[in-house]
Symmetry: C2
Subunit: 339 residues, 2 copies
């Protein structure tokens, strides 16, 4: 029994520290106009990549992100033993149709917008466990498929309240290996569901922030670290509202998050110039920001210790219609450059 891998309640330290060998990113038009546009591999100006529905477009994004990741990592689909992935669409069809031709054993995940961290966690666990030399982690979201499914058809032209976030159009994939050059997955803190009773589907940041706070707090306690240990701590897609909730929440426990904490939803868009209200959201928000911008910051050693905490809200349209609250979850991944 490897008791030494486990720390505290929810954290695992990997003996092998799996390497992120390469990533692939495919982004939509609005994302191509934001502050981190230059970090994406493929820009789909038409948002559809030649497909005739938003959902087929999302799958095509996922397929292309996988292909880019295979190319950039130098690892072929045939070498990859497991692919972990999921998305926001009903029955996770964005992922399953996107990756069906790869022929890679597939472990479908559902973590809503936390999927990039969840899939990285699982891929690293399977490599560290000795089950695979190479694994891939993929996720996707699309503004048009998400609005249609979760809120209103675009044609309806509904007003968006200031707390609403903008679902990122894109897909991101990372290929992990047991050895090689690159940033390494040092440890993970897997989140539990936190439900604080939020019922407003236009205020997802507030629904997910308590889960992010809980996972970050647990991570600090499990590892005996504080925020200053990391060069950067990023949450997935809390946006403007949730970001400040996390700062307040951790402040109450004595942790100062004001120096090195940001949110992917605030990084990927220029919130004011791009009219995205509270910021970006969707699986691809944390996906593109991590696999595009942050991964390259790690490669260039502008960051050496990153705590990546993607967050998900686990409601469905129907559960909200039935008066249910929105449970949140957040998964943390510590990614470091070996010194």
């Amino acid at each position: 029994m490897s008791q030494s891998k486990r720390r505290g309640k929810q954290t695992i330290f990997f003996e092998k520290q799996p390497v992120i060998l390469g990533t692939g990113t495919v982004a939509g038009k609005k994302e191509s106009e934001g502050p981190i546009a230059s970090y994406f591999d493929v820009i789909a100006k038409d948002n559809v990549l030649g497909q005739n529905t938003w959902e087929k477009a999302e799958s095509e994004f996922a397929k292309r992100a996988g292909q880019e990741a295979f190319k950039n990592s130098g690892i072929s689909a045939e070498q990859i033993k497991y692919l972990f992935g999921g998305d926001l669409l009903n029955q996770c069809t964005g992922t399953s149709y996107g990756i069906r031709d790869f022929g890679i054993p597939f472990i479908g995940l559902y973590g809503a917008c936390s999927t990039m961290a969840l899939s990285l966690s699982m891929a690293a666990s399977f490599i560290d466990g000795g089950y695979a030399d190479y694994c891939a982690a993929v996720t996707s979201s699309h503004f048009c498929s998400a609005e249609k499914q979760f809120r209103f058809p675009l044609e309806y032209g509904g007003q968006r309240p200031p707390s609403a976030q903008w679902t990122v159009t894109g897909s991101a994939c990372a290929v992990l290996g047991e050895s090689g050059e690159g940033p390494r997955v040092e440890c993970i803190t897997t989140g539990k569901i936190v439900d604080m009773g939020i019922t407003d589907a236009n205020n997802m940041g507030a629904a997910m922030a308590p889960a992010a706070g809980d996972t970050i707090l647990t991570h600090f306690k499990d590892t005996n670290r504080d925020p200053s240990y990391y060069d950067l701590i990023v949450t997935g897609d809390l946006g403007f509202v949730g970001h400040s909730v996390v700062i307040d929440f951790l402040s109450e426990s004595g942790y100062d998050m004001t120096n090195n904490y940001n949110d992917c939803g605030l990084i990927i868009f220029d919130r004011k110039k791009q009219d995205t209200h509270a910021g970006g959201s969707g699986c691809a928000c944390a996906g593109l920001t991590f696999c595009g911008y942050l991964y390259k910051q790690l490669l260039e050693r502008k960051i050496n210790k990153l705590l990546f905490v993607a967050t998900g809200a686990l409601q469905s349209t129907l559960s909200v219609q039935q008066g249910e609250t929105m449970p949140g979850i957040a998964h943390a991944v510590s990614i470091i450059n070996p010194s």
Copy 2:
């Protein structure tokens, strides 16, 4: 690197052979009238367990199945390090609302009706990898929530073609541990997506059968076994149509499946007396049949070597409406009694 854990293309042998310490099963009315009714822990004659929607009922089933599994295994929620689970509902709300109060780190899965085998595979992998002493695996489905979501509202009274299957109402949960008494997870073969171009949502067995055939064939090749190695091979919920497709498929590769192969969809209902057309389906079909009937057959040593192959069809209502085919997936788990 534990190369010895891996065999062939897609199979992992566990060094620790995690033990299935106990299971919990909650079944609906129709299931309580079927051939294996006496193996279920809780029968919900009203199919709703006091809830006012089908979806809330499904979550309540999942909660109760978890509670039964904790009780029957003697392992409390606090002792369980990870819970793996998912279901058929949009955004997997059956599981996430059902288990949200358990406070267990949660890894959400989407494998459609393959979820029982997928969650068992993941739970065993995390125990074998040294990440947990105890893990839980849970899934659920509900006839009324599934018909409403995937086909027609019940009130519509649509005719069901003979190839249609009957979604099982229930939930099942298994608790796995690193040591203790009970059947053990010997190895797993994780499936890849197989899409043979089936587009009829009333013929799910035919859509999933090629994936089941592919995973079983890969399992035999990876392990150098043939069907006679096992006391019983069961697929998840192919029903009458898919069951015969699997026999034909493996016959073409020289494997005789006619002696010891059955399907959970044919076990859980008396197909003719209970008017279920091609048999049972849904996540709870393989879930209840395994965690109820088969697990107890293993405990009583009426079976000592079981290959459990749950199967999923990964389409959504929308993907079928958009003319997409139905991709299938199947995950195999070998569960044995140590001699």
